[in-house]
Amino acid sequence: MTATAEGRLAEVGQARRRREDAHLITGRTLWTDNITLPGMLHLAIFRSPVAHATITNVDVSPARQRQGVVAAFSGADLADDWGPLPMAWTVSEDQKSPPHFPLTADKARFVGDGVAVVAATSREAAVDALEAIEFDFETLPAVVDMEAALGDGLALVHDDVPTNRCFTWRESHGDYAAARDRAEVVLNRRFVNQRLIPSAIEPRSVVVQPSPATSEFTLWSSTQVPHFVQIFLSLTCGIPQQSIRVIAPDVGGGFGSKLDVYAEEALCLTLAQKLGVPVKWTETRSENCQVTIHGRDLLQDVEIAAMRDGTVLGLKVDLTANMGAYLQLLTTCIPLLGRYMYPGIYKFEAHDLSCTGVFTNKTPTDAYRGAGRPEATYVIERIMDELAAELGTDPIELRRKNWIRHDEFPYTTVAGLEYDSGNYEAATARALELLGYDELRAEQERRRARGDVVQLGIGVSTYTEMCGLAPSRWLGKEGYVAGGWEAATVRVLPLGKVEVVTGTSPHGQGHETTFAQVAADALGVAFDDVVVVHGDTRTAPLGLDTYGSRSLAVGGMAIVRASEKIVEKARALAAHQLECDPDDLEFAGGRFSVKGSPDTTKTIQELAFASFVAHDLPEGAAPILTADAVVDPETFSFPHGTHLAHVEVDTETGMVELKQYVAVDDVGKVVNPLVVEGQVHGGVAQGIAQALFEGAVYDEDGNLLTGTLVDYLVPSAADLPSFTTDRTETPSTTNPLGVKGVGEAGTIASTPAVVNAVVDALRPLGVDDVEMPCTPMHVWQAIGAASGGAK
């Protein structure tokens, strides 16, 4: 920790307790569902009970007769009131993007597809009235299996998308065929990255209040992206952008599932406009499981080519990605966001990659914590362990032989991305020490030798990721309709408090605390003098919100830049008032002092007041210490780390117990270690959940069998151990704070670490893969298959 000129500790690096907590621990919260407005109507949505059907009749008139019902509409009734929901990413020239309307009028394409809506004076009345809606349909065969969907002759989810193929892209770096020819070992595997339900604990909720006098609308939504919602709803609903004010109040978790513009947001806005009164819709958990986006769901065919000494040469990956029934905001780009990460931290000379997107009669997929990068990391870290087993070498040794050494940065990988900095050696050494790796390997040998029923496994994941979704030019080149810059306004108010307005939109990440720490240091003011404003398009009109571990690495830089502008403006004023040259002033600890005359000073807060009264400003200077900045970084930052999992697997029951989990992460400079550790814990837990517990399961008719928290196993405290965490610190070279993202790192790292551990435990039994989640049944099946027994 460094001290400022006045002896005050620098804020950056301090484990400040969060400001956000006070209202959250006392229940003084403003969740969207808490909002009640005079005359407010409640919406309930009639959803298709079948996965695939042609709609022949929707009659809502019986519902209109029910007690408390004010209005009811079918998709056809509202067809002229809206355009399609936004789809923001075109990943290939051949991408098919069939329209997706807030309510469907022609066909139902997944269980939960919205068909009609009821507005009533109470939630209960609205739900009751759904029963009266008459819905006639002709069932079509459900398209549930991705590979079968691509065959000829199967039903089509969208009539004008032949063989249900949404897109195919492929790319080639180096000469893979030559690398494969030279290789002494070639390994093939198919990994199944199963479908997940993000399960933020707060269900989504939307409230819209129309102001008929001004033709404006205020929309509260449990969203990560108020700015996206404003701009895209303007396009979908034909309401001018400036007439829609979007507020993200307290938001109860997102993990990507609230990084979207949803049918229900458009529905609420449309009905508030049509009916001229406030409306509200709040999701049930069952609706959340059914209609809020799902994550992952990829088939991953991988081939690795290497020499017997362990040197890796080439990597070939073919992906089949499930889009679900419709394209949501970013559905098609999720595999694309992972495309650079398949080679991981290793020095390959050739890399081929392809991806085919497929429509099925399932819930749409979209960004879920990590979005493409966990999937990529799973492939590379799993196949490295498989290669190590094939070569009979230690998985750490194999990695060490192939990874980018710390003195080789910046390093351009075979996929064409330049990694800024890292020290894989240091993180790995620390992780091995924390786990007690050598002793565990010895214990593993003992158990193997005596054929213990409970086998021990150690799994390794030496991950990296690209984060800080930004460079607008890069995003444009990749087919995204928007940019990735971030904005901030910093104002030193006349009475000395500092207001920081950020265009990011936190929902648990702690920006009110960490961004205040960043601004306090940049301006040399006390942490308690800084407030952070966010999440309202009226007060923070410019911004691109929170996702992709971008808030600090991009949004934080805008705050730094705006603060620098303030300091420069204040410097000119200080020089004027102190009658010296601006270059003769030193700025430290929030105070300008004349070089050589340390008692002649002005604080930035004194200058803010002088600037406000504006009685004596330099010639041509404008009053008020305020500055805006918009920052668009040139590139990403690349956090990395080494995660190790130690499991015990009961070979008779298939039960996996996670005994120990070590995470050593390098996220560059750390603003608030407490917040960083919290992000790592939560991320690791979510990745472990994919490895061991969670999976969305559909039956052959396209019914979601895991449609509640009874059936979909979000782990509880009793299902997880305490994690051992530590950090190494290799500052990023791509931003002035030296920070990297941390929000997704844990999730990216932990899934392969745990599965590698499970497979490692079972390796003596001939097992070389276990289908995720590694439930007792899947483990038992893997053991059975390996021993030639019945599945």
């Binding site: 621990i25 569902d33 604990i201 707060e202 978790g253 550790e677 919290g678 994690f723």
Partner: protein, 166 residues
Amino acid sequence: MPRISVTVDGVRHEHDVEPRVLLVHYLRERVGKVGTVVGCDTSNCGACTVLVDGESVKSCSVLAVQADGSEVRTIEGLAAEDGGLHPLQQAFHECHALQCGYCTPGMIMAAVDLLENNPEPSEQEIREGLEGNLCRCTGYQNIVRAVQLAAKAGSREAEAHEEVPV
């Protein structure tokens, strides 16, 4: 419609309620206690946990009419009247045991009951005691630490009481 009388956070309320109304909806929509939240519809997540006559209860699994004549304590009534935080609230803040905060009211109320019944729980007892409350942000580690910290604060308080001469 049955008429019920319920004391919520020290204030007595009388209302006519539909028999089907759940306690959580009664608290949120009739009494205005929106600090208690709904996270699921199968009583798995525990976000709606409150104390009914001192026992932790998932208020989505109780009908409002069943609470007739009861004392209900919610997260909003947990701090002292002077605003002083309950040791668990303080510990959750201190240990960074919350991120988005949506599960926090239920988590804290469940922990209040846990510590009432077991003032010095082991880590495993805490993990099992809070099994009915889901958190998606924290990975639970800091929640466990917070409960341990509050338990320590509680035992110090108990010792202090014992030392008072009779």
